[in-house]
């Protein structure tokens, strides 16, 4: 599953602005229990880079705000067209979501967020 969004507003983890709901790819025919997050990449083009990008995963945005989620390594002060990325493999419960927070100086500009993921069983995951 690869998702991509474009927006001209600050990514704040809300719908259409940095919110990726993994549960939408889970259905009755797959009984897998984890999402394998393979990569997250955020890019701001058109001349001005981002100042801070934070990636968090949790059951809800409220849980992130309440410090009950997991925050991934974040990146600051990226240049124009430089990608803020998470490249390690992470396994999260299928009910969780990914929230991207990205701010930039001098905006707004187009923001591209690409999330690569797929549903796997933990047994499969342990084979990676």
């Amino acid at each position: 599953m690869t998702l991509e969004v474009q927006t001209n507003t600050v990514m704040d983890g809300t719908a259409g602005k940095g919110f990726f709901d993994f549960s939408t790819v889970v259905n009755a025919s797959n009984l897998e229990r984890r999402v394998l997050l393979t990569n997250v990449a955020v890019n701001i083009d058109d001349g001005v880079g981002f100042s801070t990008c934070l990636f968090a995963m949790a059951a809800s945005l409220a849980d992130v705000a309440d410090r009950k989620g997991i925050a991934l390594p974040f990146q600051t002060s990226g240049s124009s067209n430089e990608w803020a990325t998470v490249s390690r493999l992470h396994l999260v419960p299928t009910a969780w979501s990914l929230f991207i927070f990205c701010t930039y100086a001098g905006g707004p500009f187009d923001v591209h967020a690409v999330v690569g993921s797929r549903i796997v069983t933990e047994r499969h995951a342990r084979a990676f």
Partner: protein, 136 residues
């Protein structure tokens, strides 16, 4: 930066249990008087898992975090940081901020022979204020 270390005898695998891969942050670094324990998160910096010496290898190395061991098993609501398999040493920056009260679990199995193995985790406990607009 605080460290949690464990050394396992030859023939003993990391299975996430006490002394064998359970990372108990609260026990290692108790909160101070006056701390709001609901707000003390853990920042994991890096972890190294491997044998003390020699060329034997580990398989199915998985680093997991969650409120309990059950939570990081199948059908649980914990989180797994996928590691590696068939490795001599696994050293990786984590850079994760974990919810309060969560524990760490290391899984690794001897792939060739038996050998003494170690785990070293660098971490910090910090008190995070809630994000504006979030629940408290």
């Amino acid at each position: 930066m605080p460290q949690i270390t464990q050394t396992l005898a030859a023939g003993v695998n990391f299975d996430g249990t006490a002394g064998n891969g359970l990372i108990d942050f609260p026990a290692a670094s108790p909160t101070k008087a006056g701390d709001d324990t609901q707000r003390v998160n853990v920042i994991t910096a890096s972890i190294a898992i491997g044998q003390v010496s020699g060329n034997a290898r580990l398989r199915d190395v998985v680093i997991a975090f969650g409120p309990s061991l059950d939570a990081v098993k199948d059908d649980g609501n914990g989180y797994l940081f996928v590691a590696d398999s068939d490795v001599h040493q696994f050293v990786v920056p984590l850079g994760l901020v974990l919810p309060p009260h969560w524990l760490g679990f290391v899984f690794a199995t001897e792939a060739s022979g038996t050998f003494i193995k170690t785990m070293v985790l660098d971490y910090n406990r910090v008190t995070l204020a809630p994000v504006a607009g979030g629940t408290t």
